[in-house]
């Protein structure tokens, strides 16, 4: 790099002076293309080659592909390589040499050097603009209107126009016209120490092709070459590759006498070609050519004369030959001669070609040598300058020996000044770098954002398609299941077919997973709370059901995730402070997002329990547990390993939650001795633990449910309140869903056999986890009415299907499963809170009261009968003891 400066002076002259002349005389500025073409010479650091060195390359931008192509000179046809800008980032480093910048593509880093800082900035800015323009034109995605409408924000982003570019980070850089643009093509490739260096070692074939093309192009069609040289470079010589190597002083002459130069360099145009043709007629043409020297003309005429004379001799011989035979002989002789001559012509022709090739090679060699000479001369000149300078300095030093005293001070001052200069330079460099990097970051961020939006749109579309496919698949499986159930009635062959189809369907997943390398919306095995997303049924005929269920849920998840949950999440995020309001109620009904659930539940529970929420209450209950064993502890112990068996936090042997659950349940059994422990409380506490994590919070949540939300005696000895609620529920069912109730009555279906545990454990283990938690959100906030609403909604959701079943057994079978098959939580929610309106609390309370009275009366009646029976039995026994023979004995 040391000789860069030395070359500098020579280069400057070479570049600036002729350019000015040419620009005025020959270039028509109005002929510039409407869109400025981005092109120009840059030095490129060869990376992979054996030698790391700068190589001069002609870079030009391809709009269509957003590629930056490069070749050795502007005249080359085949580019040596290309850089994909659409995915590239740009960078410039302060500590790099002046004008050095980088283009980073995912696969490679290109290090390039412009001839000045300004040029570099120009390039960087242009590249950014090109990239931006390209990325914005690529928006033609197959995104349908629905999705696009769903993302209005996205659209406006995509439509940001190019002139917002820069955003004030980087002032637009003036085009350095002398080094970039089409005009630069007419200029010599900027010099490096050795022109040979420019030849790409990696692309020997392209190099040769380009060279040949250049040579041929200049020889045969001067002024009619490719668009670059043709449009912008009238004059033949400017497209000659070697001109670049001609020293500057020589060039002055060239400019003055282009024709002479043409001859000197051997690239004589039409004259030479016609001369080689050697025919008589062209001689005339030759004569016309004013550039022929007289000697050559005379020589040519001589030759023509000779040929004419020879011909004359031969024809006279022919005429003199007396006989036909002789004449024939003569003709034959002539024919032979002709053949011979034509073969000689052929030979000469090949000779000529070979010679032409060798001439081409020589030309190249000459070119290189000229370059070399130029280089040496440059060096020489630089050295001379140095010598001159040194001599001057010596002379100066000698002339001022007196000032030596001041020299030291001046020296340090000078050094400091120099340092300041350096620092200023650095500062400047950093500032530009900073500016550039800011604009780069800005643009890349914008690009990234728009790409991310596009990706989101596509993912959404993909999700919807997947959802559709899931739905279709699940419908198909449902049909298969129906057929399977009906299979005893089917013909043997059909039954076999159904069976094989089922087998096939069950194996789909495995196959798909193997094929699909990239899973866009993978079904996770466990959800956020550790619930298995796909139930594991061992029994064969249940597998189909599990599959249907998983598909339904997947399709619904896919749909809801993309469409609804995002805006809701935003509203939640804006709700830092929680306070009871209609809005909050509505939001909670829609389901609390996972990331807010814990906070909201905690808030709900503490709000309702604040009055007896003593700080160490839980602790003291735990201490009591240690002191005395509660009679319920045996049952608790029995149920601990049987709690939420579809959740990995409870089933794992090293579970942290099981001991917590034990303590919560034991503490509760002391907190509420009337209840102690009721099977089912374990599930309630387990859900509370999963969400709240902290065991004390979970304990209070359990207390909240049992003591605040549920009516008294829901879990106590006779579960009387639970039984009452079943009757109340039946009332509501007949009121809200009369058709279904009639259907149940017709088939003697007692729904409470199914619904009893829905109420007791608030749907735990009945509903799919994410719907369950949504139900719980509202349940914890609003109370048991929510359970009624959802219980009714579950029937409503499946009403039509139940009405289709006309066999009581099958109805029961269906009811056993149907809660698990509900996948569309939003639909269920909307049924529960819209379709089931009105649902006044007053009615619920009244019904509870009346049914409770009835039930208590019934129970006491039953007790009475029981007591009577016992009394009768006792009397009977007494009678037996009196000696009567028992009935059994009698019959024996």
């Amino acid at each position: 790099m040391e000789d860069r400066f030395i070359i500098g002076s020579a280069k400057e002259r070479a570049v600036s002076s002729p350019q000015r002349d040419l620009g005025n005389a020959q270039l028509n500025p109005s002929r510039e293309e409407p869109r400025k073409k981005l092109c120009g010479y840059l030095n490129k650091l060869g990376v992979k080659g054996p030698i790391k060195a700068w190589k001069s390359r002609w870079f030009f931008y391809d709009e269509n592909k957003c590629h930056l192509l490069y070749c050795r000179t502007a005249q080359d046809v085949n580019p040596l390589g290309s850089i994909d800008l659409s995915s590239a980032g740009f960078d410039c480093k302060v500590d790099a040499d002046e004008g050095v910048f980088e283009i980073r593509t995912p696969s490679r880093v290109f290090i390039l050097k412009a001839f000045s800082k300004q040029a570099m900035m120009y390039w960087l800015q242009q590249l950014q603009m090109k990239r931006w323009a390209f990325c914005n034109t690529q928006t033609g995605l197959p995104v349908d209107s629905v999705t696009a409408a769903a993302l209005p924000a996205n659209e406006s982003l995509l439509n940001e126009t190019i002139h917002t570019e820069g955003e004030g980070f980087l002032p637009p850089v003036k085009t350095p016209t002398d080094v970039v643009g089409l005009k630069a093509a007419s200029l010599p490739a900027p010099q490096l120490s050795d022109a040979l260096q420019n030849i790409s070692l990696k692309h020997p074939w392209t190099e040769i092709q380009n060279t040949i093309y250049n040579i041929c192009g200049t020889r045969q069609h001067p002024g009619n070459g490719r668009s670059i040289s043709g449009a912008e470079c009238p004059g033949t010589f400017s497209s000659l590759p070697f001109v670049a190597c001609i020293p500057a002083w020589h060039r002055e002459i060239i400019v003055q006498q282009p024709c002479q130069l043409l001859k000197e360099t051997g690239f004589s145009g039409p004259a030479a070609t016609s001369f080689r043709a050697g025919a008589v007629l062209p001689v005339v043409v030759c004569c016309d050519d004013h550039s022929m020297s007289p000697q050559e003309l005379v020589k040519l005429l001589h030759k023509a004369l000779e040929a004419a004379q020879q011909e004359k001799r031969a024809s006279s011989m022919y005429l003199t030959a007396a006989e036909d035979r002789d004449r024939l002989e003569l003709v034959r002789h002539k024919v032979r001669q002709i053949v011979e001559l034509s073969s000689r012509v052929e030979a000469l022709e090949t000779d000529k070609q070979e010679l032409e090739q060798s001439v081409a090679l020589r030309d190249r060699r000459v070119e290189e040598l000229q370059e070399h000479v130029q280089l040496l001369m440059d060096k020489n000149q630089a050295k001379q300058q140095v010598i001159l300078k040194l001599t001057e300095q010596i002379a100066q030093d000698l002339s001022e020996p007196v000032q030596e005293a001041d020299a030291v001070a001046a020296d340090t001052l000078y050094k400091q000044q120099e340092e300041i200069e350096h620092l200023k330079d650095d500062l400047d460099a950093y500032r530009t770098q900073n500016q550039f990097l800011n604009s780069e970051i800005h643009q890349v961020t914008k690009l990234w954002r728009s790409v991310a939006e596009k990706e989101k749109v596509l993912l959404m579309k993909c999700a919807r398609l997947q959802a559709r496919s899931c739905q279709v698949e699940s419908k198909y499986l449902m049909m298969l299941r129906r057929l399977q159930e009906a299979s005893p009635d089917l013909a043997r062959g059909e039954a076999e077919l159904v069976k094989s189809l089922i087998q096939e369907a069950l194996q789909w997943d495995a196959k798909e997973e193997a094929v699909e390398a990239l899973q866009l919306n993978p079904v996770r095995e466990y959800d956020d709370y550790g619930f298995m997303t796909i139930p594991k049924y061992e029994a064969e005929d249940w597998k189909l059901l599990a599959k249907i269920q998983a598909l339904e849920i997947k399709s619904n998840n896919l749909l809801s995730h993309t469409a609804v949950e995002k805006p809701l999440g935003e509203r939640w995020a804006g709700m830092a402070e929680l306070s009871p309001s209609a809005e909050l109620k509505g939001l909670i009904r829609c389901g609390i997002p996972v990331e807010h659930r814990q906070r909201v539940w905690k808030w709900i529970v503490t709000r309702r329990l604040s009055h007896h929420h003593a700080a160490n209450h839980y602790e003291s209950l735990l201490r009591q547990c240690e002191r005395t064993e509660h009679p319920a502890s045996r049952q608790i112990e029995l149920d601990l390993p049987r709690t939420l068996t579809n959740n990995r936090h409870f089933t794992s042997p090293t579970s942290q939650l099981v001991p917590k659950l034990r303590r919560v349940l034991l503490a509760f059994s002391w907190q509420n001795p009337a209840i102690g422990y009721c099977q089912g409380l374990n599930r309630l506490a387990a859900i509370a633990l999963l969400v709240l994590e902290e065991e004390e919070s979970a304990f209070w949540c359990l207390v909240h449910i049992v003591e605040n939300l549920m009516p008294a005696d829901y879990y106590s000895n006779t579960l009387i309140a639970s039984q009452v609620d079943q009757r109340v529920f039946k009332d509501f069912l007949s009121e809200k869903l009369p058709r279904l109730t009639a259907h149940f009555e017709q088939h003697r279906i007692d729904v409470s056999l199914i619904t009893f545990n829905w109420f007791l454990v608030a749907f735990v283990d009945s509903l799919v986890s994410d719907i369950l938690l949504r139900v719980w959100d509202a349940f914890l906030y609003e109370g048991t009415k929510v359970i009624f609403r959802y219980a009714l909604a579950i029937f409503k959701y499946n009403e039509e299907e139940i009405l289709q079943i006309h066999d009581s057994l099958e109805v029961y079978q269906y009811l056993r499963f149907f809660t698990h098959m509900i996948g569309d939580g939003r639909k269920l929610m909307s049924i529960a809170f819209n379709d089931m309106n009105p649902f006044p609390m007053k009615v619920l309370q009244n019904r509870r009261a009346t049914h409770r009275e009835e039930l208590e009366a019934e129970l006491s009646e039953l007790e009475r009968i029981k007591a009577q029976y016992v009394k009768e039995q006792a009397e009977q026994v007494a009678w037996h003891l009196d000696g009567a023979v028992s009935e059994e004995e009698e019959e024996m």
Partner: protein, 195 residues
């Protein structure tokens, strides 16, 4: 074509004795160590051939905890048979069994077939209830008795086959299981056992 008869069967017994496990083994031939405790009840069906009939069992598996007893009438009402399960490793559960038998006799349907299952017989090392006690008791009330293991699939099929055999054939017993709750004195149906 064979006639299909629907037979409602309920499972009663103390909590954790393995009622659900027995049903699961019978219906799905599967055993799950950590089967959830039953709340209320759960329902399953299975059809097995018996003689020239098909018996379709409608099985109601009830919750074992004491406080769910009050719900039991919903399930044993109209049952053709009741399987009362105890755990051979728990004397308590045998005691609970006796209470269930008593309740069935008092409030259960007439002619209900009772089958006693001493479950977890794979854990005979921990046995608390001798086989003899169960046999004697079953005899005294005229019930079928088997020791079963849901875990190792021992005697599960046999248990239900036994029940099937106890069900009187259709023609001779047309309106047998009409679901009436018997509240009065028990009659001596039990002696009509055929095996």
């Amino acid at each position: 074509m064979m006639a299909i008869r629907e037979l409602k069967v309920c499972l009663l017994g103390d909590t954790g004795v393995g009622k659900s496990s027995i049903v699961c083994r019978f219906v799905q031939d599967h055993f799950d160590h950590n089967i959830s405790p039953t709340i209320g009840a759960s329902f399953m069906t299975k059809t097995v051939p018996c003689g020239n009939e098909l018996h379709k069992f409608l099985i109601w598996d009830t919750a074992g905890q004491e406080r769910f007893h009050s719900l039991a009438p919903m399930y044993y009402r109209g049952s053709a048979a009741a399987v009362i399960v105890y755990d051979i490793t728990k004397q308590d559960s045998f005691h609970t069994l006796k209470k269930w038998v008593k309740e069935l006799k008092e409030h259960g349907p007439e002619n209900i077939v009772m089958a006693i299952a001493g479950n977890k017989c794979d854990l005979s090392d921990l046995r608390e209830v001798p086989m003899k006690d169960a046999k004697e008791y079953a005899e005294s009330i005229g019930a079928i008795v088997v020791e079963t293991s849901a875990k190792n699939a021992i005697n599960i099929e046999e248990l239900f086959q036994g029940i099937s055999r106890q069900i009187p054939p259709l023609d001779s017993h047309e309106n047998g299981n009409n679901g009436a709750i018997k509240l009065g004195k028990q009659t001596t149906q039990t002696t009509r056992r055929c095996c």
